[in-house]
């Protein structure tokens, strides 16, 4: 469903180096790696917010690398995206934030919009929050509203950037369980970036690890946990001694 072929990207220095990665349709793929290893950049490349310096990016078999902004709009309608900093629109209420992607897809029936928003808020345990302003919510609540917005269109592909960053352990586990349940119900292809490796691996089908801009591991969750690669082993098991 998602494919990167030899993708490289640099800013002041190289961020991604010759990354080749495939995420099969319907898979919940976890992407891990130390800070500044290029995980968020990879997500932004997939939706065209950034352009690769080299390599190709394919979505459902279509090469989207060189599409212009107008052409990218069509591709982006297949995506849901949860940003690391929630990216809730502070000029809209919680309900309007969640309804926003539906309106962009042309849904104008107000009753249907209200129903869909209420259903999403119930799914993230925030029923009755429709009229609240994003600024008045806690970090965990903002994250859950972000999840509701990212999943409201039942997009084919959903990208999550650090869905549990900054949350307490209980809320983190609830968020991961919620995302996994959403993925199973919608049959979506999910690519999830998280530093909370222990909880991430409880929900993933496959795992990839980026290290210094290179994809050094790509396999099933079981294979990842049993990997003998010194960097993968140290990172996934949180060992203090090792090459990292």
């Amino acid at each position: 469903m998602l494919e990167l072929r030899g993708v490289s990207k640099a800013f002041a220095g190289p961020v991604l180096r010759d990354v080749t990665l495939q995420v099969p349709k319907g898979c919940l793929y976890g992407l891990v790696g130390p800070g500044a290893s290029g995980k968020s950049v990879l997500l932004k490349l997939l939706v065209g917010l950034l352009k690769p310096d080299a390599g190709r990016i394919l979505v459902a078999g279509e090469d989207v690398t060189d599409l212009d902004e107008i052409q990218l709009h069509r591709v982006r309608q297949r995506f849901g995206f949860l940003f690391q900093n929630y990216a809730l629109f502070d000029f809209l209420t919680v309900g309007e934030n969640i309804a926003f992607p539906l309106r962009q897809l042309g849904l104008t029936d107000e009753d249907e919009l209200v129903r869909r928003v209420a259903e999403r808020l119930q799914a993230v345990a925030l029923s009755g929050f429709e009229a609240r302003a994003p600024g008045g919510l806690s970090g965990g609540q903002k994250k859950r509203v972000g999840v509701a917005r990212a999943t409201v269109t039942r997009a084919e592909v959903v990208l999550y950037d650090e869905p549990a960053a900054g949350l307490d352990p209980v809320t983190s586990q609830k968020i991961f369980d919620l995302l996994a349940r959403e993925q199973r119900e919608a049959g979506a292809t999910v690519l999830m970036v998280s530093s909370d490796v222990a909880r991430l691996l409880t929900v993933t089908d496959r795992v990839g690890m980026l290290y210094k801009g290179r994809l050094i591991f790509d396999g099933t969750t079981e294979e990842a946990l049993g990997s003998r690669h010194p960097v993968v082993k140290q990172f996934l098991h949180g060992e203090p001694d090792g090459p990292i």
Partner: protein
């Protein structure tokens, strides 16, 4: 002894020429960035691709809420001009020239430029902060991923509202500055309002008013492009927003004076 490749040797100090060159390149890059943004916005006007409700919201926010500050500034500007001119008016007994002098200066120069600077400080800075915050909190990226063009949805309505509202506020400010000048002439110099307005109507030409209003459109474009450009270019979180607001206000003020110089020369 330290060899040329010795990593422990202190970093070489930048020469004045290098520092100057770097600054020139930086200014050129920013001017280039603003030009590219202006062209991209222009492209979205043919055919118009602008969010109507967002445009109306900004017209209200930028225009109506600026009325008090522009009004106070304009009233005092008119008054100050009469205080300054009062000495000469008294010395030469040129009461009839007060309306012309105040009107000519206010309509052509002082009104548009001071109102533009106030507008830049209030509306331009607010726009940079607003867009900058949206940039660092990834709201601009979120719009893009929802297949919405941020330039059409967020930036163009603000740019159009700023240009339109500065034009309207200049007319409003010019009128209040003249009222302030007339009142001060009466109170300070004993020159009646009729004498003041007779001098104004007889000697000030329609072109003087139009001249100032043409300038206000130019100033509006400068403020709008500079404030939105710096808002969209923010990096480095909350401190970056502060730096962007500062840079936006400085660039707007510089742009206003440069535009004023050339437009005064061309429209003289």
């Amino acid at each position: 002894m330290a060899s040329p490749t010795d990593r422990s040797s202190p970093p070489r100090e930048e020469s004045l020429a290098e520092e100057l060159g770097r600054e020139v390149l930086s200014v050129a890059a920013q001017a280039g960035g603003m030009t590219v943004l202006a062209l991209r916005l222009l492209r979205r006007l043919f055919p118009p691709r602008v969010d109507g409700p967002e445009l109306l919201r900004n017209l209200h926010k930028m225009g109506v809420r600026s009325l008090p500050i522009v009004g106070v500034t304009a009233l005092f500007t008119g008054a100050i001009m009469v205080i300054q001119a009062g000495v000469l008016i008294r010395r030469y007994g040129a009461d009839g020239l007060l309306g012309w002098g105040a009107g000519f200066a206010i309509l052509r120069e002082v009104g548009p430029i001071l109102i533009a600077l106030m507008f830049s400080g209030r509306v331009g800075a607010n726009t940079t902060a607003e867009l900058g915050t949206m940039t660092v909190t990834e709201q601009i990226d979120a719009l893009s991923t929802l297949a919405i063009d941020p330039l059409s949805y967020l930036v163009l309505p603000r740019v159009l509202a700023m240009v339109a509202m500065l034009f309207i506020l200049t007319i409003y400010g010019d009128a209040l500055a003249l009222v302030g000048a007339a009142f001060t002439g009466q109170g300070l110099l004993g020159i009646g309002a009729r004498t003041f307005f007779n001098g104004l109507v007889e000697m000030v030409k329609a072109w003087d008013l139009i001249n100032g209003l043409i300038k206000s459109v130019g100033f509006g474009v400068i403020i709008a492009v500079a404030s939105t450009y710096y808002g969209l270019s923010v990096t480095g979180g909350a401190p970056g927003v502060g730096r962007a607001v500062n840079a936006g206000v400085v660039a707007s003020a510089t742009g206003i004076f440069i535009t004023d110089y050339f437009s005064t020369y061309i429209l003289r």
